[in-house]
Amino acid sequence: MGKKKFFRYSMQDKTLLMVGYVLLGLFVVAIIIPMIYIVVGSFMDPITLQNKGITFDFSKWTATAYQRVFGNAQIWVGFKNAVVYSVVFTVISVFITLLAAYPMSRPDFKGKGFFNVIFVITMFFGGGLIPTYLLINNLGMKNTMWAIVIPGAFSVWNMIIARTYYQGIPSELREAAEVDGATDMRYFFMILLPVCTPVIAVLALWQFVGMWNSYFDALIYLDDTAKQPLQVVLRSILIQNKPESGMISDMQSTAERAQLAELLKYATIIVSSLPLLVMYPFFQKYFDSGIMVGSVKG
């Protein structure tokens, strides 16, 4: 980091900078406070939480809420399904998208304009909810994992990002490979993909996060509770106020049940969000290079 000795700010600029830093600080604090509140709240006992809110008196903290959440079978089923759907979707989707982006990135590809129009139209115009639903129903995909992972597997937007990234790779690489007699497949898998890690990482993260966090498709296509992903389970606990029956049924009074149900929301939020929040910092180094090159220059 070079020393910026000659960066002399005037008085006015210094005040302005201070105001800026304060604003930024406020925004950061505004993001953190609700998170801390939920974390601390998840360790309260249900009655204190309802009457007094949270306390930082650690001696009063309990892990009851977590025991109940982890002890619930439906949460685990949801977790397992979410992992399976997200992994399968990410693999299929990133693979198809990376493949399709390659011909579209070649200046000499015949039919590029035509295919481009076909793809881009779908970004702005579609059949809508009911026709898509009926189609998936008719294909016999309803109530199977495939209804969730296949229809959205090819993303035009991601294809454009991958294409732009490929275009930043010097074309001499390809010419050299062609002179050596490498087929398109060979060049793509052996030479091109290995130098595209940042964009692959970013696309994979996006698709994984997108699938992990979505609930609408699962809501309309999966009726079987054994197939529901985590977000649908969460929806009944957090939004519909219907905790999984096993979680609170041992409580005697309705009031106690309601208090406990409220507390369980805190722990459920933490348990379900933690995996992604822990995972994403490892991808942060790819954000600038991957997203930048793809979207800005596109």
């Binding site: 910026k4 006015q12 800026g20 009911i130 600038d288």
Partner: protein, 339 residues
């Protein structure tokens, strides 16, 4: 460190690109690569190209093409449902044709205007509040001198983006519940989730909380591409912060801002279903029922396929018109440069 790296990378890329262009100009005649070069037009050349590069079509493009045709274009044919009383047993082609009846029913119903206005208000206000904040965040981030601190701030700013819509709405409901922290703080017991007047504020504020940091990422990246030398020169010339922003930083992100604006303004009618539906309660319906949630309820919960498809189609068409219009307007203001 980071800025320098980005600049170096940028320069290398630029150098490579100009070299590439030179090679394209000079080398094309001397060494025509397979299937390209002078092969412009001509059915024969095209066929030759396809034969030489069949893998590009059959292996690379085919999967995406099949998915697009099956899951994007075939449903477009299903739009016919909007013009008939769809009967699943009779199928798409034999169901009784009703023309524009569904559209008339929707447009003349008393609820139509309210759903349309709810949708528009939600997204227009969302755009007005939500669009500038990521840009401001990026400017502020760009002024953080230490790369380490900047990275830590970014880590926090991006975090809410990785929380799901359901969990976000769960957090909102907890914070705003009658016995929740906000009411404790204010010493009141208001049930915000049942107030139609509060719905839009809740929706937009939670959207900013979740998305503003992540939305700043592209602007931050574009700003760190702004030439450091240019900025140094501006500082040596005695430019103050406002002048630096005007002369160096704004030009660096202007194009990104314009693209982002067209994209979001063009998507004004496609307000996300997921969040609106999750924040809806029976009592705030007056402002929370938008076209997307109405389409879902009419179609999948009530089974009124034809009507629901018509409403959805209406929404899509307005959206396309808006996109084209915004693109035209921006292009006119921006010396002919649109999307």
């Amino acid at each position: 460190m980071h800025n320098q790296y980005m600049n170096a990378a940028q320069e290398v890329q630029d150098a490579e690109r100009s070299r590439e262009e030179k090679i394209m100009k000079t080398g094309a005649k001397a060494l025509p690569p397979r299937g390209s070069g002078k092969a412009k037009g001509g059915l024969k050349d095209t066929l030759l190209y396809v034969r030489q590069h069949w893998q590009l079509y059959l292996i690379f493009l085919l999967p995406a093409l099949v998915l697009t045709i099956v899951f994007r274009y075939i449903p477009m044919g299903g739009i016919l449902i909007a013009f008939e009383n769809y009967n699943p047993i009779k199928g798409l082609l034999d169901s009784p044709w009703v023309g524009f009846e569904h559209f008339q029913r929707f447009l003349s119903s008393p609820d139509f205007l309210s759903y349309l206005v709810n949708t528009l208000k939600l997204s227009v206000y969302g755009l007005l509040w939500g669009f500038p904040i990521p840009i401001i965040l990026a400017f502020l981030l760009n002024r953080v001198g230490s790369a380490k601190i900047k990275r830590k701030i970014q880590l926090v700013l991006y975090m809410p983006n990785f929380i799901s819509v359901i969990v976000l709405c769960g957090i909102v409901k907890i914070l705003l519940s009658v016995t929740g922290p906000l009411n404790m703080l204010l010493g009141t017991s208001t049930d915000f989730m049942t107030m139609p007047e509060a719905f839009r504020t809740i929706y937009i504020a939670s959207g900013i909380w979740q998305g503003a940091g992540w939305g700043s990422i592209m602007y931050t990246a574009a700003l760190s591409n702004a030439s450091a030398e240019l900025k140094e020169a501006a500082i040596i010339d005695g430019a103050n912060i406002f002048q630096q922003i005007k002369a160096v930083e704004w030009p660096a992100i202007k194009d990104v801002v314009i693209i982002q604006f067209i994209m979001s303004a063009g998507n004004i009618m496609s307000v996300g279903f997921e969040k609106a539906y999750a924040l809806q309660t029976d009592l705030n319906m007056r402002s929370s029922e938008i076209i997307a949630t109405y389409v879902y309820k009419k179609g999948l919960l009530d089974g009124d396929y034809g009507f629901s498809t018509a409403v959805g189609l209406f929404n899509t068409v307005i959206n396309v018109i808006l996109l084209v219009a915004v693109n035209k307007i921006v292009a006119r203001m921006n010396e002919g440069k649109g999307l």
